[in-house]
């Protein structure tokens, strides 16, 4: 547990001092959403209808941006080898890396989402649902992404490859995330959709660290 906190604290400190990764993800999120505003011609009703889907898709792409760097820096400077030599199980280390990654990229997206929602004319009734759904959905994206990041460590064109591997696996989260936000718009209860998202998160939490650790072991050996 101590090592878990130490890794998270260390990664957060690095991210804070560098600052670029976090800002890139949020900046991309805001810019892409703005582009949709221009692309759809600024018609408020058309924007409102598409807003939930647009926000989810841009959030999904934004959270994928920094995936490539999740292990790459540690791999290049050798600190990954050091981490793997500690007594702590590699699965736990994966969990810590994923948690730090989510705090630096997923959490800012959730904070920025209401702003984007206002810009895209999403009805304010749906904001709570949108943020709740993102809160359950983005950690799942990070956990699935950790598998992709570990698999492509050291690959040629790793960044492009990661999207090909990870995006298909993101689809269930996207479907249920948009559904949760849209049911909130229609005024119906959205518990079932949120529960499905929560279920995905728990399944990913239980399984993804093992898959990512296995992928990392064969990448580094």
């Amino acid at each position: 547990m101590a090592i878990l906190c130490a890794i998270i604290a260390n990664d957060l400190r690095l991210a804070w001092r560098r600052g670029a990764d976090t800002l890139t993800a949020v900046g991309f999120f805001v810019l892409a959403a703005l582009l949709f505003g221009f692309g759809l011609g600024g018609d408020p009703s058309a924007l409102a209808r598409a807003a939930a889907g647009l926000i989810w898709v841009t959030a999904l792409l934004a959270s994928m941006l920094a995936l490539e760097r999740m292990f790459a820096a540690d791999f290049e400077d050798g600190s990954l080898d050091g981490l793997m030599m500690t007594d702590a199980p590699l699965e736990l280390i994966m969990l810590a890396k994923a948690a730090a990654h989510w705090i630096t990229t997923g959490l800012p997206l959730i904070v920025a989402a209401p702003g984007i929602g206002l810009m895209l004319n999403l009805p304010t009734d749906a904001f709570a649902a949108l943020m709740l759904a993102l809160l359950f959905g983005t950690p799942t994206l990070t956990l699935i992404g950790a598998i992709g990041a570990a698999l492509t460590l050291g690959a040629r064109r790793g960044g492009v490859l990661i999207s090909l591997l990870v995006l298909p696996l993101y689809i269930p989260v996207l479907i249920f995330g948009v559904a949760a936000t849209e049911t909130a718009l229609s005024g119906a209860a959205m518990d079932a959709r949120l529960m499905a998202l929560g279920g995905f998160f728990l399944a990913a939490l239980a399984l993804a660290p093992f898959a990512a650790a296995a992928a990392l072991r064969q990448a580094v050996r």
């Binding site: 598998i147 698999l151 492509t152 050291g154 690959a155 040629r156 064109r157 790793g158 490859l161 090909l164 591997l165 995006l167 298909p168 696996l169 689809i171 479907i175 898959a211 296995a214 992928a215 064969q218 990448a219």
Partner: protein, 241 residues
């Protein structure tokens, strides 16, 4: 058993002779199935002759799932017992599975246009099969993305196991979500709900597709073994000279 088959020469001695038999079964069952499907089986009372797309669409869908299961099984064998030959089999099956998935999607779109009136809907079954196609493409791309060949093989084997979660989702998507695509009518509890005049050509086509898959699989495994042998000989030859 696994160790016994892990020797490439022995593997090919056992499975190589099966190759002509696979071709024969594929041609005979496929020919008979096509004749029955195109001429002997009845047209649907609503869909007319377009129902005959089923005899290609359904077997290729089964093979799309079957090929992925083969890949996942051989990937597990390769990762657990570290048999290089299992990697070769999984690698050979990936493009074949991608082909069957593409056939399944294209015939499904044609059939959808004639009977549903649309090329594509975002139905659970259609979407999950599309995801399967991207999983196949991801497997092929990941395997080729490393300078170290064995690293790519191991990464792809792991991805194959991770992506296996999609297979039960595809199989049961029509029951869990009950959207436009019809539920299973052959492999279901309570026996097939399809008339024998259509079931027989369907099963014959399925056998033909399976034999065709097996034949191509054996062929490309044999090619890969031969390629490795040739490379090893070239390296050995350089060392001597």
């Amino acid at each position: 058993m696994l160790n016994f088959l892990a020797n490439p020469a022995r593997f090919m001695r056992i499975f190589g002779p099966l190759l002509p038999w696979c071709w024969a079964v594929a041609v005979l069952a496929g020919g008979a199935g096509l004749v029955l499907a195109l001429f002997a089986s009845p047209a649907d009372y609503q869909q007319g002759d377009s129902v005959r797309i089923m005899y290609i669409h359904v077997p290729s869908a089964w093979m799309a799932l079957g090929a992925y299961t083969v890949i996942a099984a051989f990937s597990a064998i390769a990762l657990v017992w570290k048999h290089p030959l299992a990697h070769v089999v999984a690698e050979a099956a990936a493009p074949l599975g991608a082909g069957f998935t593409a056939i399944c999607l294209v015939t499904g779109m044609l059939w959808g246009k004639t009977s549903w009136g649309t090329w594509w809907v975002w139905d659970a079954r259609l979407t999950s099969v599309l995801v399967l196609l991207f999983l196949y493409l991801g497997l092929i791309a990941l395997r080729g993305a490393f300078d170290d060949e064995s690293r790519g093989q191991r990464a792809a084997a792991l991805l194959a196991l991770v992506g296996f979660v999609n297979i039960p989702i595809i199989k049961f998507s029509v029951e869990w979500w009950a959207t436009l695509h019809q539920p299973a009518s052959v492999l279901r509890a309570g026996g097939p709900a399809i008339h024998p005049s259509m079931l027989w050509p369907l099963l014959l086509m399925a056998v033909a597709f399976m034999a065709y898959f097996a034949a191509l699989l054996i062929l490309s495994v044999r090619t890969e073994i031969a390629r490795r042998k040739a490379e090893a000989l070239i390296v050995a030859g350089r060392r001597q000279s």
